[in-house]
Symmetry: C3
């Protein structure tokens, strides 16, 4: 009687986007200790500020804040139905900043604006640049970021907009990083945290093998994706994937980021918060059954304005699949085992 | 010294049931935000009233209520050890009504009464009709339903009771539907919800393809079943299943219901609550690895007594496995891909 | 610039341990209702005191306490990075006592002391005996235990310490068992609990087949291990496991303990708490896809000092893989299907 898809949406294709177009993404999401436990079960993360209310209390916080990447995955998932459900590839991130930290009970809502559009040379797709912002229930900025994705055209002959590529910074300056409100790291307990190494101990150029490997189960990566309410078909639809060139669902790249961060505890135990992500690349897809390893390099070490208790380390963390990282694969040139290459700032307590 | 199974129970067989027999099922269960997060991880559901405390607040609720089907799955699981642990098939549901909504922290307890018994013609099994009721810690009725299951006999020569088949309604009348206490949909925010389509916009006869597919992981369906404390062997015991005609565990049908409901967000985003289930059929079993798709038809649209803010839609939602639903499989006659065919009422905000 | 592994740790090897050495293990962990829900999803456990706040209230508790084994798994996981990340085998437990019960919101921290060391005869490894204690945020003792593990040497020619084997009790005496603070079992509701059988009804020598089987999913056992923040490579690293004699990750033995305990509800529904573990043996490894069954024998029945409301049962619970337990495999001599053989005390209400 009525046509299919009148009420449902197959999402936007490249020709549907306009420069300056804004989105208020559905749906708001309250994050709870249930999400915290699932994040542990899915990643095994051990960073103590996020693991224990009492430990968070020693640095002046009223409770354990949410894992930064858990917040980011939930935040970005909101943009998928409007922006990237028809994406061919997630090409990059820039200028991601964590500002107000999120706590269990907070409700996150995300808005976006199209900041750039560039058709591919073959005319079959285009790159959409989006700036997104997630706020909490008090309208405080929780996390903001730019990303760009390649989106298919619905109709290859559709007219496409004029090219505009935004000017995106390759680095968030250290002086723009935000220390969590109320945090005072002078009481940070390295014994309880499991490592004596603080900000001063890391040298620019130093490399750290995180040693351990963590395998991705078939249900784990789908549960992670669903927990974030991320609807990207390439991660969730096995039937569709059987007709794709990979033959199986791709693991959500954010899950690999979280595994790499969890693994990095062994060597970076006191990297208490991620403050910003300068850039990142999902170098290759991962699949259920893969084992993720990781190594990091210290790219920079910077003090923070007016803070003697905490400083910033700029890290490059590289994750591989099915290849231990004792010899730092990908350090000098490409390596086929590399699945993630992330450039980011962490906050780490100083000796004061 | 003492015989096996003296303290443990293999459950009831058909000859153990008596008309009018009542059960107080073990064990009460407190539902928390942990269950809410797991329900998200297992289904990816996005309905905003259940996703965000703040959104629930805009319709006058003090917090996000529990997903209706999560409540139902926990409620019905309590009946399994007494009623259906030896069931061959779950044949149907009737007159399921959600009354008082459940919230994190509520404790649910279930009682049942045998309302009908009918031996099968071959004398090897029988159909048990049960009416069940789940209450919260304040003795308020949360959800009630009838279901009938085919249960094996322990001893094929055992005498079986006289046949009695209860008179079950095929439809819950719209005027019997319960709007959640305290809910006022006049403040419902369609932007935050992700869809502009309200009660008035749905036409009787309209069909909606929910487009997306969601795969069932091996661990996911077992974790769902275990979360509900459902002990049905056919879902949990792989060793036993290897000797069955399917050779592997069957996915709990309720998990498929939840996936279909989650998928229906794309096209029915503002179907805020399930108010009643008129009937339902698990048309075929699903297995780990299957991808579920769904479509819905609007069967009826009814106002609710004294409410200008919210109305009722009677929906038929059909779920398939490994077959997208763009052409509405099962709409006219049987289709082998159909795994679920559900007839139910949802509550949806009106334009007022 | 700097050598690999300068900041990260491959863990301790046998030659690194010293008699009397003490460890304050990283990192403290706050346990929440999110963990409770995951524990349900991973085990399907139905013991009512832990399932329902209201039921816990009937025995005088202010809320549902955490599952005892969930607490133990989180507690022992903390010791892994320092003690057993290079373990070849987990050989045994002794004198494990649950003292103060843990509740959602509690933060657990673990310390250990090396109480014994014994090189193996081939000189390639050694047995490390450790006594560990987990406390809550009020410095109350939650659980303490001894365990011994076989740990590889880093360097086979390294000198190893003099042998010292601690004198460990094979039994926690009944009079040393701790009833949860505030608990009064005189209001225990056997109807709601699902079984009429109380302390007086169990005879020494009685055997109980727990009947049901529960399969281990690939993701489930890894999620359990990760939830506990247990970093043992043999459970989590599929790539590494491919080079091992098993070719796949081993299921964490504690997950099998939890499944056996959950299955034991059918026959021991009123075994409300585990009070102590006298000893235990992981007789053989389990793998994803295995189905766990269990049976129990009553080894002893003892009253508790000054308590008419609750008594203690000493149980032996044997878990098998892929073999139902109707004929009590392993009761008389070894059986290749046995994966766990546990000797422990439970608390069970008395008729008073």
């Amino acid at each position: 009687m009525t046509s299919a898809q009148s009420k449902s949406s197959a999402g936007n294709f490249f020709e549907d986007f306009r420069l300056g177009q804004s989105f208020r993404h559905a749906t708001p999401r309250t994050v709870t200790t249930g999400d915290v436990a699932l994040n542990l079960a899915l990643t095994g993360s051990r960073f103590p500020v996020q693991s224990a209310a009492g430990f968070a209390g020693t640095i002046g916080l009223l409770g354990a804040p949410l894992d930064d990447l858990l917040v980011f995955h939930i935040a970005i998932a909101k943009t998928v139905p409007d922006i990237s459900v028809n994406a061919v590839a997630n090409l990059g991130y820039a200028d991601l900043r964590f500002e107000t930290r999120a706590y269990p009970g907070d409700t996150l809502s995300t808005v976006s604006e199209v900041t750039g559009l560039r058709p591919t040379s073959d005319g079959k797709a285009g790159i959409v640049y989006v700036r997104s912002l997630t706020r909490n229930q008090y309208d405080e900025n929780v996390v903001s970021w730019n990303r760009w994705v390649m989106v298919r055209k619905r109709n290859e002959s559709a007219e496409t907009p004029e090219t505009h590529v935004p000017d995106l910074p390759s680095l968030v300056p250290a002086e723009a990083l935000t220390v969590p409100a109320g945090a005072d790291f002078s009481g940070y307990d390295t014994d309880a945290a499991g490592s004596p190494h603080l900000w001063e101990d890391y040298e620019v150029g130093e490399r750290i093998d995180h040693i351990d490997g963590m395998s991705i189960g078939d249900s784990e990566h789908m549960m992670a994706t669903q927990l974030y309410q991320n609807t990207a078909r390439v991660h969730l639809d096995r039937h569709l994937a059987q007709g794709s060139r990979f033959g199986q669902p791709l693991v959500y790249g954010g899950h690999v980021m979280s595994l790499a961060r969890a693994l990095s505890f062994n060597g970076l135990a006191n990297a208490a918060f991620i403050a910003a992500i300068n850039g990142g690349r999902h170098a290759a897809p991962s699949f259920a059954g893969d084992t993720i390893y990781a190594w990091s390099a210290v790219l920079d070490r910077q003090p923070l304005p007016n803070r003697a208790d905490v400083g910033a380390l700029r890290l490059r963390t590289v994750a591989t699949k099915n290849r231990p990282c004792g010899d730092f694969p990908g350090a000098e040139g490409d390596d086929p085992s590399v699945v993630l290459d992330l450039d980011y700032w962490v906050l780490m307590p100083r000796r004061g």
